[in-house]
């Protein structure tokens, strides 16, 4: 396992114990205590949601929406079925935290979802798991069996009349299913094509029914908040940025891995925790929030603290907390080419600007990267980007444009150099 620091989500997990993920171990480290507390003390739905609001927990899936507020949107007295959905379709390049959660602490997620179901009066939930991590999907199914057998999950939980069914559903190779409405379509057995919002899932979600969707890490933080109190969680981080957060650090560091640290920790500290730059090379740039976030050059990054507000101020996004670290040897043209290929490849294809525009962006960057760039290409890239961003059904359109904008903003000279000299300043990715 590559979890190096431990906060809320991995609290007490002994990674050396091969059974660390099992229910027995989870209970030993205080697992399911929050659920028991709710059921024994008959804590009300409103109290739970208030606690969530106090915690200032912001959704860990990328958009950072306050979770307590989202839960309060769920219609209370809806006559039909409502659904709770967990988003473990982690596919944003650079992000691998949810994988470690369902592999190493699946019961935290299960307990968090059960509590969510209780708080919003929902009796059925699904966890949508990225197809590529199929072994993790199988482990999660096993964890569900454990929870059912122990009476934490299913009908009449712990002898009360509260019932909650939870099932696992897997993706099969489509990044777009991480977008919550694409995920719902996929869960319905269709292509993962995002829906136009409004209506939002809280009124028209899975099977057209009110639905709440949260990220794996978001749910996995819930037991702690209920057990220890929202205030304590909040104080782990900083105001408006409550709690600790998992950062998936990849790229040119000595120890890539997941780091659960308080929001607001300086980036420089995180870099240190990762053992510094691999091979002692110099830091060139960081993509601080998953591949969709605009790249930030080293000097700006070194001034940032790792929280939503600081990174936003620097002109990027904390996103899913994926920190892609690049050293001085990286060719930015090459890096952008690979990312643009990804968005072109992963566009669901339904809306015109993204379907047609992502391919156009990629082809131009590809040409530049192959020494066939034209002087007008950089303005064209910017203009195409302007015609995509904000004009699409879902944020994948934006996600395809942000890396282009970031690169052109901070590393334009590398692109100009290549267009002019037909050869790159730095070696291509290999």
């Amino acid at each position: 396992m590559t979890v190096y620091a431990k906060g809320v989500v991995f609290e007490g997990v002994d990674f050396d114990n091969p059974n660390h993920w099992r229910l027995e171990e989870y209970v030993k480290r205080g697992g399911y205590a929050a659920l028991k507390k709710i059921l024994n003390e008959k804590i009300t739905q409103d109290e739970i949601i208030a606690e969530m609001k106090t915690s200032a927990l912001r959704g860990r899936g990328g958009a950072g929406f306050p979770t307590g507020l989202k839960w309060s949107f769920m219609p209370r007295n809806f006559p039909g079925q409502k659904y709770l959905v967990c988003n473990t379709d982690e596919g944003e390049p650079g992000t691998f935290k949810d994988l470690d959660i369902i592999v190493s602490n699946p019961h935290a997620l299960i307990e968090g979802m059960i509590i969510g179901g209780y708080a919003m009066g929902i009796t059925v939930g699904y966890n949508y798991i990225h197809g590529e991590v199929f072994e993790a999907y199988e482990r999660f199914e096993e964890a569900l069996e454990e929870a059912r057998a122990a009476g934490f999950l299913g009908d009449n939980i712990l002898g009360t009349d509260f019932c909650f069914q939870l099932h696992a559903h897997h993706g099969y190779g489509a990044y777009i299913c991480g977008e919550e409405t694409a995920l719902l379509e996929s869960l319905e057995g269709k292509k993962g094509q995002p829906r136009f919002k409004p209506p939002f899932p809280a009124s028209y979600g899975l099977y057209g029914k009110p639905t709440t969707i949260n990220n794996t890490e978001t749910f996995a933080s819930v037991p702690y908040i209920i057990r220890e109190g929202g205030q304590k969680f909040l104080e782990l981080g900083k105001p408006n940025n409550g709690g600790t957060k998992l950062f998936s650090v990849s790229g040119h560091v000595n120890r890539p891995g997941n780091y659960e640290i308080p929001l607001g920790t300086p980036f420089s500290e995180l870099l240190e925790m990762c053992g510094g730059m691999r091979g002692g090379k110099k830091l060139k740039a960081v993509i601080p929030g998953g591949s969709s976030a605009p790249v930030l050059p080293a000097d700006i990054m070194m001034q940032c603290t790792m929280d939503y507000d600081s990174i936003a101020k620097a002109g990027s996004m904390l996103g899913s907390g994926a920190v892609i670290v690049m050293d001085e040897t990286v060719c930015m043209v090459s890096a952008l080419e690979r990312l643009s290929y990804f968005y072109h490849e992963e566009s669901c294809g339904q809306c015109t600007p993204c379907r047609e525009g992502t391919g156009w962006l990629y082809r131009i960057v590809h040409r530049i990267a192959h020494g066939e760039g034209r002087p007008e290409d950089l303005d064209l890239l910017a203009s195409i980007g302007d015609n995509i961003a904000g004009r699409t059904i879902c944020a994948l359109g934006d996600a395809a444009v942000f890396p282009v904008r970031g690169m052109l903003k901070h590393f334009r000279s590398e692109f100009e150099y290549m267009i002019e000299h037909k050869t790159r300043q730095f070696a291509a990715l290999s």
Partner: protein, 157 residues
Amino acid sequence: MLSQESLALIDRELAKYPADQRRSAIMGALRIAQTEKRYLTNELIEFVASYVRIPPVAAYEVATFYNMYDRKPVGKYKLTVCTNLPCALSGGYTTADYLKQKLGIGFGETTADGRFTLAEGECMGACGYAPVMLVNNHSMCNHMTPDAIDKKLAELE
């Protein structure tokens, strides 16, 4: 067209969803069919569609949208290497090139003996373990340096 075991697995998937939402099980059902038959022929897609009770073209849409479904014959072992940026920074392309050279095939190709198919993958959500490689869609191999590849291929021979 499918074994009793596979059909039982599909039934288990169907049981996860409301009775009037059988369609939800199509992804699982196609995965189970593919696992048994290695890849999805049109006949197999049509069979699975009728088992799940959805129009065949609806199943076809799913089978062509998600890129872990194989609709062309693949080797006994399909090796998918992630080359997305985070992996590439930690040797994703080196791994891919090593495999290409070692197996004598490019991405999207199958060795003449039908043992290996090589595929380029997108982020598998395991970038911290880069370079990563998937064997037959379901088995993740971490830190696939050339040495690790040699070892793995030996296991698969």
